[in-house]
Point group: C2
Chain length 150, copies 2
């Protein structure tokens, strides 16, 4: 199935798998500008002793550092799980053009659930949002990870 996914989402799924292999909840993220991958990151709060080190945050920070700016205008973020409120807030602050995410997260998501960050009048930049791309694989990774820990 991954063969039918775009390269950025396949890379994000690989980053999620790598995160799992290091004991982190398997989520991966990629920032793309045009056809160029600017940053790839896996979830790493435990490994980095950093509660903010979700895959999206690390990818956004790496992309901004690479481009030498605090605005990722013209960029798309691919991530394997619906971003939480923190990450959705960061996506808006970074002025990303587009967010593409795989699995939905009814329990912790902040885009289509809970805080619905982009739908608030306090949100000053709303990216285009595309969901469900690579959902089956991303959700399977998460299920396997949590099943193995029960």
């Amino acid at each position: 199935m991954a063969l039918f996914l775009s390269l950025p989402m396949r890379r994000a799924l690989e980053a999620a798998r790598e995160a799992a292999s290091m004991g982190e909840v398997p989520v991966g993220a990629v920032v793309v500008r045009g056809t160029e991958i600017i940053a790839i990151a896996g979830n790493a709060p435990r490994r980095l002793n950093d509660p903010t080190a979700h895959a999206e945050m690390l990818a956004i920070r790496a992309a901004a550092a690479t481009l030498g700016t605090d605005r990722l205008t013209g960029c798309t973020l691919y991530v394997t799980l619906e971003p939480c409120a923190m990450c959705a807030g960061a996506i808006a602050l970074a002025r990303l053009d587009r967010l593409v995410y795989a699995a939905s997260d009814p329990k912790g998501g902040g885009v289509a659930h809970g805080a619905r960050v982009f739908d608030q009048p306090t949100c000053h930049h709303r990216p285009e949002v595309i969901d469900g791309v690579g959902e089956d694989e991303a959700a399977a990774l998460l299920r396997e990870f949590f099943a193995a820990r029960r």
Copy 2:
């Protein structure tokens, strides 16, 4: 008036002033455990080329690095402005015991406005929230900063 404020909030206001002197929106944050200041940071997204580099995020990350953990249980975050959705999400993820903030932010806040992150069922940790401490000074700093740029 600052004389009547607690030491952590005075330090947060100093960090906000320093941020302004570097051209950043004046917001400062401090993480405290017991009576010990663990981290102090000023807002720095432009200086660091990092859209996530709000004062709260930098203080949380520094405190977690110092304590060698991704959980700031037993800690309080002092910040001069109501946290945005990103920062409120990070505060919940970091499991901070308490949030003390000065000025309210109806246009961009994510605690008492907009996303109201801690009030959502997707929020898995809700800190005690104390607001209005040092409000006059923090709001004056922001007003002066934006007035000077008009």
